[in-house]
Symmetry: C2
Subunit: 321 residues, 2 copies
């Protein structure tokens, strides 16, 4: 048995899986907002312990642990982990988790391992090539070619920084017109805040408080849409239009068989969201009569953790970081 | 010996090469503007005859002929050949040229074979992965991954239809905001015409008449820039800005090692043009500290014909179409 850990900005998902990749145990921890990397390591170790217990084993019996982490991953170290407080410098995550749990640890990029999981076990399984688009706080991605994630020189995947509007909206990355500036949940929240400050009526922030969140989560966006909130509708419309254009550009260049939509918002909006993205994409396809299949990530919320488990030492290696 | 034919909108370049891929003979014909595909076939046969004579052989002694053609290429047939008059329906180009010359013929996509030539013999030779951008009447492209052009489901390469400006300028393809609407020489000419009609001063069309052209060729654009024509400068600036954004988007997603700029305008503007594109690209790179190498196509004007020769039957097969 091995474990997979999906380290997110709000929660830490852990699965323990067998050789058949079936989930034998799982747990979820809140990501600590204080205490920096050491507190996160403690929460990860606790998560592994609980998931192992659910699978009926001791953590030290795990053959290995794979971790999907935000930020820059290199050689088991993680730096610039977005959405994780006080985590800019390189931190030896693999070593620290390994010592805390007593099993060998490998670390990969969070979106990368989730796309690997879809390629091997999920929505991409039957496709020779596909584009994975992870729509969440940011917009991450990966291109799978001949069944393998293409890594380039190690930094491939930044579909969120496709320029969809020259001279357009300012992105968190400092540049202008990036897809993420329109479709990233972080940018969408800033946009909503601006509109609310300007006096536009919206229930987004009331819902946020009511549900004891400090950010507009995917669930909040979904609830606001469900209640017909005009500000939410407009911002989500813009996000989907931007995603459609960015994805179509990749399809025009690479002619992949399929597009797999994952991530927090992608999973939350599900098939209906994927169909709306497909519609916007269709407007920009150069060969519109043969569009790629557009699917949602089949492994859902646990895909990141299952994908991370594929990295666990002791398994046949998959692409990393 | 084998022949390669680059079928362009204004000229037909033919080379005869040996096993070492060195050019042993060449010829250039004007592309017939009347008579449709049969007239084009006759001109191609004449070109092959002249190039073979220059190499000291008979056309029938050629082991095979490869053709790089615009339009949609499938199974030796070509349809919707842009810039070639009266050529919409599928025409059996391989068969007709084969009969006219007396040697077996294979046909591939013009940009595709030129990028193959750069991958195997030219600017991409030392790179594991690169993006080829063929900047001419349209903006074509190809991604080379692990030394091989990626074909997708057969229609890969349309970097010209990357959306760089949502809701932006109308493209010849009918959609809005495509890279080609800003950087394709066809769009650039329409833009210049509009500005001239509005009363903006430009020598572009005077130069065109003086040099007996019916279109603004790459040479005309270069001359106008050289003479400080403001309209030409503005349009070329916009084109380069658009190319930089479109290329950066691909680099952000695929993290390729290099970018190779070819095509009529790309070759004409040479290293200086490539450097300007590199500058614009740099503004949008997500990992700016490690940009890809930007190079011009090393095989220059003959690259298309040399690339076509790689397709010639009797040679080790390369990617096609």
């Amino acid at each position: 048995m091995r474990a997979g850990v999906d380290l997110g900005g709000t929660k830490i998902e852990v699965v323990v899986v067998g050789e058949d990749n079936q989930v034998a145990g799982q747990s979820r921890q809140a990501t600590p907002t204080e205490g920096g990397p050491p507190a996160v390591v403690a929460a990860m170790a606790q998560g592994v312990k609980e998931a192992a217990a659910a699978a009926g084993i001791e953590p030290s019996e795990l053959s290995g642990i794979g971790v999907g982490s935000p930020g820059e991953v290199s050689d088991g170290k993680v730096s610039h982990a977005r959405n994780l407080p006080d985590w800019d410098d390189a931190f030896p995550l693999a070593m620290e988790v390994g010592e805390a749990v007593g099993a060998p640890v490998a670390v990969g990029n969070d979106v990368g391992v989730a796309v690997d999981a879809e390629a091997i076990l999920g929505a991409g399984r039957d496709h020779h090539s596909f584009l994975g688009v992870w729509w969440g706080t940011g917009v991450g991605g990966a291109v799978v070619i001949e069944g393998k994630r293409w890594l380039g020189r190690g930094a491939a995947g930044e579909i969120g920084h496709t320029v969809i509007k020259l001279g357009g909206r300012r992105c968190e990355c400092g540049r202008r017109g990036c897809l993420e500036a329109y479709a990233g949940r972080g940018s969408m929240e800033r946009r909503a805040r601006k509109k609310a400050d300007k006096g536009d009526k919206t229930i987004l922030f009331d819902l946020m408080k009511k549900h004891h969140h400090t950010r507009l989560t995917s669930g909040i966006w979904e609830r606001a849409l469900h209640k017909g909130d005009k500000v939410a509708e407009k911002i989500v419309d813009e996000a989907i239009e931007a995603l459609g254009a960015g994805i179509a550009s990749v399809v025009n260049l690479l002619d992949v068989e399929a597009v797999v939509i994952g991530g927090g918002l992608g999973t939350r909006f599900g098939q209906k969201g994927a169909e709306r993205i497909e519609g916007e994409m269709g407007k920009h396809l150069f060969v519109p009569e043969r569009p790629p299949v557009v699917r949602t990530a089949a492994l859902g919320d646990l895909g990141g953790a299952i994908g991370a488990s594929l990295l666990a030492p002791g398994r046949e290696p998959v692409a990393t970081p």
